[in-house]
Symmetry: C2
Subunit: 538 residues, 2 copies
Amino acid sequence: MGSSHLLKIRQESKIALPKIFDDITNVCFSSFLDKDYQTKEEIKKEFPLSYSDVFLEAKGSNGKHHPPLKVGVVLSGGQASGGHNVIIGIFDAIKKLNKDSSLIGFLNGPQGIFNHKYKELTEDHLHLYRNTGGFDLIGSGRDKIEKEEQLLSSLKIALDLNLDGIVIIGGDDSNTNAAILAEYFKSNKCHTKVVGVPKTIDGDLQNKYVDISFGFDTASKTYSELIGNIARDALSAKKYTHFIKLMGRTASHLALECALQVHPNLTFIGEEVALKKQSLKDLSKEITDLVIERYEKGKNFGIILLPEGLIEQMVDMNELIAALNHLLGTIDPGSFDQKQLIEHVTQHLNKSESETFKCLPPEIQKQLLLDRDPHGNVQVALIETEKLFIHLVQKNLREVSFKGKFSPIAHFFGYEGRAGFPTLFDATYCYSLGYAAAALIKEGMSSYMAAISGLSSNYESWKCYGIPLTSLMRFEIRKGKKKAVIEKALVNLKGKSFLTFSKLRESWREGDDYTFTGPIQFFSEIPDIQDVPKILNK
Amino acid sequence: MGSSHLLKIRQESKIALPKIFDDITNVCFSSFLDKDYQTKEEIKKEFPLSYSDVFLEAKGSNGKHHPPLKVGVVLSGGQASGGHNVIIGIFDAIKKLNKDSSLIGFLNGPQGIFNHKYKELTEDHLHLYRNTGGFDLIGSGRDKIEKEEQLLSSLKIALDLNLDGIVIIGGDDSNTNAAILAEYFKSNKCHTKVVGVPKTIDGDLQNKYVDISFGFDTASKTYSELIGNIARDALSAKKYTHFIKLMGRTASHLALECALQVHPNLTFIGEEVALKKQSLKDLSKEITDLVIERYEKGKNFGIILLPEGLIEQMVDMNELIAALNHLLGTIDPGSFDQKQLIEHVTQHLNKSESETFKCLPPEIQKQLLLDRDPHGNVQVALIETEKLFIHLVQKNLREVSFKGKFSPIAHFFGYEGRAGFPTLFDATYCYSLGYAAAALIKEGMSSYMAAISGLSSNYESWKCYGIPLTSLMRFEIRKGKKKAVIEKALVNLKGKSFLTFSKLRESWREGDDYTFTGPIQFFSEIPDIQDVPKILNK
């Protein structure tokens, strides 16, 4: 890794901590029942040993000498800025408890656990990663610990290394996996505790105690910077309409946050589109109308945000994708050339599906047919929604003999925002999450998610909770089977953030009220720790 | 325009000035002859009245009361961060000379001059634009003042408004246009002086006195941030090969700067490709070899930079594009459908051109045939070079039965970097350029480019020059005609920057020595004014 000015300064910057962690030896938890929470009997049957109705809140007690802890940590899934600070937080906390504590990093995701690939993490090595983005300290991966031999092999390494705990840093699926591992360890009388930490730029891991998952703030501020730059360019050049797709999987939290930050002319929220059963035709008409309206006001430019999940949330595309997944699952696509594949598909789709398919440009048809995941499913993240809409709007404009100019430009922002230097907020929040995970393990808690709450208030007064992982679970149908999983948090269409957005959006269509947030800042003139995502305050 | 934290702070931040401008009333110029410069007789014939061999350097003299100046300013061409500070620099300088001075902004580019669209710029309005990106204060445009009626109409407004000077902020073509206007004004005995300011993110307006054009620093730092973020993501996920195309027109300065900043695994420099007469096949083989080499070292990821100009600099693509421009110029493409167009084209290309055309994926063939500018030429900037190489590398890998995984991701960065908040360097440099332009007009100089030199040294000691625009010109063939134009500065393959790059690049192929520069900072811990582009120091 090369060194930059900013890297050196950030590596050497101390990270702030909430008061609750002033003396980690002093932290214990008080149990409480959440009066809004009702026991989930079915989940309890699935996790008989690790199920809990008991929530935990950290408090001070009389500090006492603590024996050394040996903890393992793993990064699971896509990158999110601040992951290194979570690990450093765990390290600093267990070292404060006892200088003989040690931290084992499992390499390249959960497979590092069951394949027994790991290394001990030491101060010498860690200090280069303080306040940095990326997961390159130990790598990450998307594997799950599911099969019996994987669980058994994970048990073996936990026992061989005599681990007091394993911290799984990941999203909803990875935390579901943490619950499975915790139950398995308990059922095998293994003393190793399993604790989850809520990570994902998508922001879809939220609940009463988790205001936001880490990485969301850095990602949304990075995208907002870029969208703002492009908006200012559009406002200056006055001739381009920018179609910007944003990462975020099914949930539109990132698009909503960026809309609240930058005020683009039009932003679709996938959850609303699904609720209203809007189609590809409806949305492309809405964009076309916007282009025409703006042209009539002398504005041949605009900014349109498209969340990644949108493609699956439009009613007709949703049907088409389901039909294609079914159809393509029954054949070996390798035995067809592209033309034959298109023929096969159009013959077997029903009338409305076939019409939807035919209105797509050839590149998108190809993406739907050829770019499939190992299970044969369409990879919706790879579909260029931004180009699809450009194609349809061009067609619509031709049909109404549009007299103005329409110069569309397509963008996709995703990878740019997953591994940048964490904002002061994410850096601080993540370090606290590391402390919270360490505190839970110290107190012998398993199948809990570490949570830091009250993020909109001053960081000194942030609170620390332990949430039973099972309390976050419900049954869903996955690959045809009923499975207990942690619920994905989608945009709440009755929530304050969405209502604020829906109240303001009409004025953004023509107002060009773009706000330029600029690059993320780390220094004193801007009190960035408290510069939290807008969706937190609304 | 909405307001952000950073916007407010930057609007209120004072801009530093070199010592030479401590008292603008005190600035005059000493003339000198550049001993390296030889009189250009042919250019002198073209610009008999405004041609000059005399260079100017600003110096102090006895300050004296100055009558008010009335100056017009126009932004010409694509956005570059800092343009607003140039305008504010002119305004502050002429107001210091005499509080009754005034500044007229011509709207939406040079057509604002000949169409007489303008507004007076006042302190009330300007302060919102201090230290901001974009050209939205007065807009910009790509028109030229060329035709007799346009020149005449420009003369009329200069006389009607009784302008002491017009400042044209633009790139090579816009400064060429400034020279034409200056000559025209002189030949019509008009007292209005014309001064150019070197603007362009592409960095292709450089000479002995202009170290770099403004906007280059902000653009290259914005792209470097993003490339670094993506590199850190690649290094963490260990499974993607990112193909990143960068704006910059023909010149590869931006790609070279970003390569020196971030150390990607492979960067093509268009000027080198042209010199070596490398083909599409050569370069796609070079990338394929890199993918295989890295796979053999267990590295299924990488970062590849492709300058925008590359597409035209590969010998076979250059021939093909020239042939297509010729062919498509002779027919009405509207009368052919896409299939007929492809047939027509393949029938009329020669054998090697036809082979090149056939190896392109359908999307690129379509871009070459359909996306043409008003003169019928292929719009090379719109060709997705990044996708073209992905297609060819996939093909190459299939042919050698590559066993590894190759997951390519395409990016294009351009608009993101043209209108962001200017770096402290660009903010300061631009404000000084505004002072320099005002000083030249005050001293009655016309057909000069304002230049600030010695940018690598402390800003306090920066020097101010006036360069005869005609001294930068040479004859080129444009649209079949010999025309006097300002020479575009391409990457010097014998210069220190390129030599540094070519010495290091071998180690970057496999070393993953990525440097993460992070977001642009504006505050005190990083002395950013002196954080100049790397290509300046090399």
